[in-house]
Structures are given as structure tokens and as C-alpha cells.
Assembly symmetry: C2
Homo-oligomer: 250 residues x 2
């Protein structure tokens, strides 16, 4: 069933009708060609999911009757902030799309020393807006109850001071080479439900040893993600899958 995210002003009540506005109306009525009686899912900003039936279109809005209202638990118990060095081509888009499917709470892209790509300041807002749209679409498709936010930080210092987190790890190839294999587990054991994990990944060119040392000084732990070398856009998917497996399946 098609899923749409509601704005904070819309609060569906079981058995009552609400007025749907914005982009969702266009998508549901024009793209999906919904007819009165057709159903869709509507997610509130407090992560409740309403199944709603189209009563009638009203110009740029739609009257929707709430048939059911539930609060499914589909978000990671430990919210994960994925922070990645700015990458070339469509790699950032892939990270946001797949990372959203795998449950990321937030994405932050940052500039760093070995970054192969740079986001020109005049293009940054447009890039972030595009990534936010990808996150929204992926959140709808993967039946998330939040849409991950996407933001930018000019460097690692602003990253770790501006982002809200309880514990942090930085994926570091050298840790993996030295056979480091337990820091991620230690960090995950230490986090209680609701506490946020910041996971930092370098760009294609990697982070410098000095950048990793600065992060470690700030309390971020260097962590290996197994003995194989992963590309910049694959490592975040490994981490998110590991967090889900550990906190949702084990």
C-alpha cells in the first residue's frame, strides 16, 4: 500500500476524516490515480500509522477517513547517524537511499582532507534538497515511520560538535588491518535503547591518520568492520545491518 508522511499540523483520529495537503495529494490523486474508496497509509510526525480511505478530492487537497491507527515499531532501537565524507558521482545518493532502507536516523555529509569531490557552496542546498527527497521516497517504500534528515558539515570538528550522539565510532581501514574486531560490539553493548550512535566513514580517499587521531581525542572509537575492504558507499550499509541484527534479531 502506498505510504505518505504527514506534516505536524495533521493529526488523524480513528473514525474521523482529515484533510491531506501538499505533494502527497498530487502523487496519490494524479500519479497513483486514487479514486474514492481507495486506501493508503499515512504516517504522523509522532510515528503513528493511519490507514486512510479517500472520501473525495477537493482541489489541491483530499478528504481522508481514518480506518485504523497503529504505532508499529519499525525504527532501530539505537538511532544511527551516518556521517560520510562527500563522495563523487551518485555515491551520496546511494548511501541515502540504501541507508534509509536499512534504518538510518540521520545522514550528515562532511568535507575532509582526502575528499575527491567537493560540494560547491552554491550547489549545496540543491544537493541536500535532492538527498532529502531520496530519503523521503526510500522511507515511504521501506515502511519507515520517520524520514531521516540529511545535512552538511564543513569539517569533522563541526560534525562532532553539531551532531547529537551518545557514542561514536569511526570506520578505519587500519583498524581492520590490525585485526581490530571488537570495538563496534563494545560500543553497541554500551548503548541503551534511544541513545544515538554516530558512525563516521571517510570519503573514497579515506580519512588521514591525523583526522582519525583528532576524532579519537574527542572520544570517537576507531572500529574495524571485518577483514575485507569495503568501498565508501558499502561500509555504512554494513554498519546499519550489524546494528539491526544485534539489536533487533539477536
Amino acid at each position: 500500500m502506498q505510504r505518505y508522511f504527514l506534516t505536524a499540523e495533521t493529526t488523524p483520529v480513528l473514525g474521523a476524516t482529515f484533510t491531506l495537503t501538499g505533494d502527497s495529494v498530487h502523487h496519490w490523486l494524479k500519479v497513483m490515480r486514487a479514486q474514492p474508496g481507495d486506501q493508503a497509509e499515512f504516517v504522523t510526525t509522532s510515528q503513528a500509522v493511519a490507514i486512510g480511505e479517500l472520501v473525495r478530492a477537493e482541489g489541491q487537497a483530499a478528504k481522508v477517513k481514518v480506518l485504523s491507527l497503529t504505532t508499529p515499531q519499525v525504527e532501530l532501537p539505537v538511532p544511527v547517524v551516518i556521517a560520510c565524507g562527500v563522495s563523487k558521482g551518485d555515491k551520496t545518493e546511494q548511501i541515502v537511499q540504501r541507508g534509509t532502507e536499512l534504518g538510518a536516523a540521520e545522514f550528515v555529509f562532511f568535507d575532509s582532507q582526502y575528499a575527491v569531490a567537493k560540494w560547491a557552496p552554491n550547489k549545496r542546498e540543491r544537493k541536500l534538497a535532492r538527498l532529502a527527497k531520496i530519503a523521503q521516497s526510500a522511507a515511504e517504500q521501506s515502511h519507515r515511520t520517520i524520514v531521516p534528515t540529511v545535512s552538511y558539515q564543513p569539517n569533522l570538528t563541526s560534525l562532532i560538535t553539531q551532531v547529537d550522539y551518545t557514542a561514536g565510532v569511526v570506520a578505519w581501514e587500519e583498524s581492520a588491518k590490525q585485526g581490530e574486531s571488537s570495538q563496534l560490539v563494545r560500543t553497541l553493548r554500551q548503548l541503551e535503547d534511544g541513545q544515538r550512535l554516530l558512525a563516521i566513514f571517510g570519503p573514497e580517499g579515506g580519512l588521514t591518520a591525523a583526522e582519525v587521531a583528532d576524532l579519537q581525542t574527542a572520544g570517537i572509537q576507531a572500529a574495524g568492520l571485518g577483514p575485507r575492504i569495503m568501498r565508501a558507499e558499502t561500509a555504512p550499509l554494513y554498519l546499519l545491518s550489524a546494528v539491526s541484527f544485534w539489536r533487533e534479531l539477536v
Copy 2:
């Protein structure tokens, strides 16, 4: 350092020289423009890794001196066979590329009832050859010591009779919806090092309930992979990451 896979006939010995032949010669000498004294890594079919130095080019071959010879442990302790329904577009390529980075031992693509795409018999060999090349290139880049094989099975019955495995799971969205969360862990606990896991994933359209029931009759367990809906090409990455995390980090 550039990495190449050797054929079974080539057995590097520490301090001695060997003759490199085949595609790797072209890539190393022409694409990478290696000069005498330049080094590369050469992986034997018994998973040893030689660091070799170019002594001289000899037409379509190259003389290489072995400077070191080690056997790093970079393969998943539980070899994983990723079996996926044939998918549209470049999804199969993405599964092979990323799945190789994440440690898959083998890929099998199969036809099934809801498959949106079909591989025409006359194009099948070409597709498999292309996927094998992608696996080889990803194995080189991710510093694997084996190149995963890629094959095709016409249906689920031939899949489970032709593939070598000790235990099998099928990713099943309905299991996830019912809150099933422990089968994958149970299966992983039951496998000893070296025993192979077969992990089956439907195409975009999913598997039918009857197909899953047939697999269950054959001893394949339906397993949920967390509460979020993943696309066909993302679910195998989740599984491989989970196996790595559980067997290599925890």
C-alpha cells in the same frame, strides 16, 4: 596495491620467480603501466597471497619475483551462497558487486513465478560471464582471496538440489511482518566454521507463498531480516553483513 588472481597452474614460491599469463598481464603492464621493480599482489587458488615484483615483460607474459607469501584470513568463516530471483536492470550486477565486497562465496540466480525479468536462454551465458567479471573485479578491490562463482538455476527445485549447503534460510517479508526475529540467529548458531549457508531471496515481485512452503518442506527456514521492508538488491547485503558481524566481530 593492485591484486590479481592466479590460475591453478601458477604456484608462487618465496624468493623464486613465476610466469604470469592471461588477462592480468595485459592489465598490469598496459593499463597500470607497471615497470620492472613495481609490485602487485597475486592470489593463488589455495588462497595464499604473494607480493610479487615485476622482473621483466616477455611478450604476452611477465616474469614475477615472489617477495613475500602469506595466507591472510579474510573469508567469512561460514561461506554464504546468495541465491536471488532474476531481477531487472542492473540489480543483479549490484548484488554481485556489493555482495562480493561483503564476502559472499557464491551467487546463484534463479527463475521464479513472480519474476519481473527473465534471462533469455541465448543471453544467459553472456550475462553470467559479465557477472563473473564483476565478481572478479570486486574480489580484487576488496582484497578477497577467492573469486565468488556466479551461476544460474531454472527454478527453486534445481537450486536446492544443485547447490552445496549445510543449512538454508529464505528471506520472507511475511516472517518479518509477523515479528519473526530469531530464525537467522538460530541458523547461524547451528553452523560450524566451514559449513555453508544458503540464503534465498525473491525477485522484486517476491516469492509466492507456495514457493516458500516448498522450500520449508525441503528444510529451508523462513527468516525475517528486521522490521523494515528492503528492496530485492538490499536484503542480501543485510544478510552478509549480519553473518560477518556475528562470526567475525562478536
